[in-house]
């Protein structure tokens, strides 16, 4: 009980600390820096949710940007100013063209549709393993891109949907980062999360312990996709401009790098790696411009990745979380004495 209370206090304390940091940032930093921080926050959401669906279950999906695209376009169409929908998006049905939603419901619907898309795509795709799954989920990105290109009456196709209202600010991003971390943390440290990890460790044994493999895998995949969809919505309303190529393969690989650097299945690791990589990219940009060596960021990221794979292949934290965030395991051992008395009782029986 004390362990649980400590956990909640710690979570509340960290949330408040983060909120204070966001408040300080919005009060003192310029718009450019605030936007960079918001991007880093969106990357945290993406990396953490990918760490849940990939790291816990042992899947290797690269499909996150596809689900971002689903969530991003859905949310953007819902919030788009109704008076401009008529000529920008002529194929929208009457009832949809008249809508102009606030950000929150648009994000939720975008996330939900992304989740449904993951369930639909997951049925066939999740039968694959390892590299085959990676390639198939990579295919999702290209399929989505083709769909968006061809539904140009709904999405403006290759022209891209521009003039999306800039509704995302640092507070929105921060709130969703907290929600993402909370939900993923809850799932990872729950009975359900244990069945996902069991599946990762040994599929056949997990099935024989009663874990429904397909359903569990699909659940993890869909939960990751919901957060990717919401992150896509936030992204669209931050950049105010969404094209079929804005969320692509490069982002998919960046996200995988974050998860690998943080440690497969470590949520805190994924979050820290997302912040670190975003920072590196933004710190190196001025250097790239002044020296004229464009692409330096990618080289540095690749070197960091190779270094980690050689010297610390399990990533920053392995699949665990940093010790300060965890309850002491001893505090969750209520019946140790009861168990040991039972043992001696049984031993006596056995020896007679």
């Amino acid at each position: 009980m004390t362990g649980t209370t400590r956990g909640w206090l710690l979570a509340a304390g960290l949330t408040a600390l983060g909120a204070a940091a966001v408040w300080a940032a919005t009060a003192s930093l310029n718009n450019y820096l605030l936007t960079l921080i918001a991007f880093a926050g969106i990357n945290v959401m993406l990396a953490v949710s990918l760490s849940l669906s990939n790291g816990l279950t042992g899947l290797f999906s690269l499909g996150h940007p596809a689900f971002m695209m689903v969530g991003g376009y859905i949310a953007a169409i819902l919030t788009f100013p109704a008076n401009r929908k008529g000529f920008m998006l002529p194929d929208l049905p009457e009832w949809l063209a008249a809508q102009q939603w606030p950000l929150l419901p648009a994000l939720l619907v975008g996330g939900a549709v992304a989740g449904l898309a993951a369930i639909m795509a997951g049925f066939p795709v999740l039968r694959l393993r390892g590299h085959y799954l990676a390639v198939a989920t990579l295919g999702l990105i290209f399929i989505l891109r083709a769909v968006v290109n061809n539904l140009d009456g709904y999405t403006r196709g290759a022209l891209g949907l521009s003039g999306i209202p800039k509704l995302t600010d640092l507070w929105w991003v921060y709130a969703w980062v907290v929600i993402t971390l909370f939900v993923c943390w809850r799932i990872k440290h729950s009975s359900l999360g244990r069945t996902m990890m069991a599946m990762r460790e040994n599929e056949m044994a997990a099935a024989c312990m009663g874990v429904p493999l397909a359903r569990t895998r699909l659940m993890a995949f869909a939960i990751g996709a919901v957060f990717a969809g919401i992150a896509g919505g936030l992204w669209a309303h931050l950049v105010t401009n969404l094209t079929p190529t804005s969320l692509g393969v490069f982002l998919a690989f960046q996200l995988v790098v974050m998860v690998v650097l943080g440690g497969q299945g470590s949520l805190a690791g994924a979050a820290l790696a997302a912040i670190g990589l975003s920072a590196i990219a933004n710190l190196l940009r001025p250097v790239e411009q002044s020296t004229g060596i464009y692409g330096m960021t990618q080289i540095v990221v690749a070197l960091v990745l190779i270094g980690v794979l050689i010297f610390r292949p399990q990533g920053l934290f392995g699949s665990r979380e940093p010790g300060v965030l965890m309850r002491r395991p001893e505090s969750s051992a209520p019946s140790r004495t009861a168990a040991s008395t039972q043992t001696t009782h049984l031993e006596q029986r056995g020896s007679t």
Binding site: R186, S191, R194, M209, P212, P329, A339, S340, Q342, R349
Partner: protein, 258 residues
């Protein structure tokens, strides 16, 4: 009748691993299944736990035909197993191995988990307490937080049995539980198996190729060879059966003395 299997045949391409296998298990039995290497013992186990599907034949558990069901549905119907080549969740703790298996009957769903409802917390506390109890049966409570893969071999076998018990089975199948153990470890393990059988009045099938071990432990022994049942009965009967001596004991002894 707890379980009955009829005419189970399994072909892998052209290879017949098992043909026309049958068994009927009454509640409370402790049955030994023996046979020389390659006789089809593991195939029987994989069929009876839904890991593989029979080419022909059917499996009925507590009156319900569950032929062709998935392994996790077999487990839900009360059939649990261990593995010959230990298959623990290696990177999870010993306790987590057991609590992961408790999820089947006691785990909370997605919504209570995410919303941190009191019911989810109660379920979690219950599972941890039950996990310690099960580990206690095997003297493993002190190792609860050790990484499963870090345990010695013999202990890992015990964790596997504890984990199988966590699914609350009506029938437990042990696949060569003493494989790779020295005689002292084997004797201790047999005591544990006997205890589990008696105190939990659990129906069990133990697969082994060590004849003497099975003869001591079980009151009913089934012998298979080359994918077919050779004999089924009390240890003494089976040992006296000429076909068994011919196919199994005879050749082994001859080889051992040679």
């Amino acid at each position: 009748m707890l379980l009955s299997a009829d005419g189970l045949t399994k072909r892998f391409g052209g290879v017949v691993a098992l043909s026309g296998y049958g068994i009927s298990v009454q509640s409370g039995e402790l049955i030994g299944l023996i046979g020389p290497n390659g006789a089809g013992k593991t195939t029987v186990l994989n069929l009876l736990t839904g890991v593989i599907r029979p080419t022909e034949g059917r499996i009925v558990v507590s009156g319900q035909d569950i032929t062709g069901w998935r392994a996790d549905r077999f487990t839900a119907r009360g059939i649990a197993r261990t593995f010959q080549n230990i298959r623990l969740f290696r990177d999870l703790s010993v306790l987590e191995n057991v609590t992961a298996a408790l999820h089947l009957r006691h785990g909370p769903g997605l919504a209570p988990t995410v919303l941190a409802l009191p019911s989810a917390r109660r379920a979690e506390h219950g599972m941890v307490a039950r996990g310690y109890e099960l580990l206690g049966l095997f003297d493993l409570a002190d190792q609860a937080h050790a990484r499963a893969a870090d345990l010695p071999y013999g202990e890992q076998r015990k964790v596997e049995i504890a984990r199988a018990l966590a699914t609350e089975p009506k029938l437990l199948l042990l696949d060569e539980p003493a494989a790779g153990m020295n005689p002292a470890e084997t004797r201790r393990l047999m005591d544990v198996i006997r205890q589990v059988h008696e105190t939990l009045s659990l129906t069990m099938i133990v697969v082994e190729h060590d004849m003497s071990l099975i003869m001591n432990l079980c009151r009913r022994v089934q012998v298979i060879n080359r994918g077919e049942v050779l004999a089924d009965g009390a240890p003494a009967e089976v040992q006296a059966d000429p076909a068994v001596i011919e196919a199994y004991l005879g050749t082994r002894r001859a080889r051992a003395h040679a």
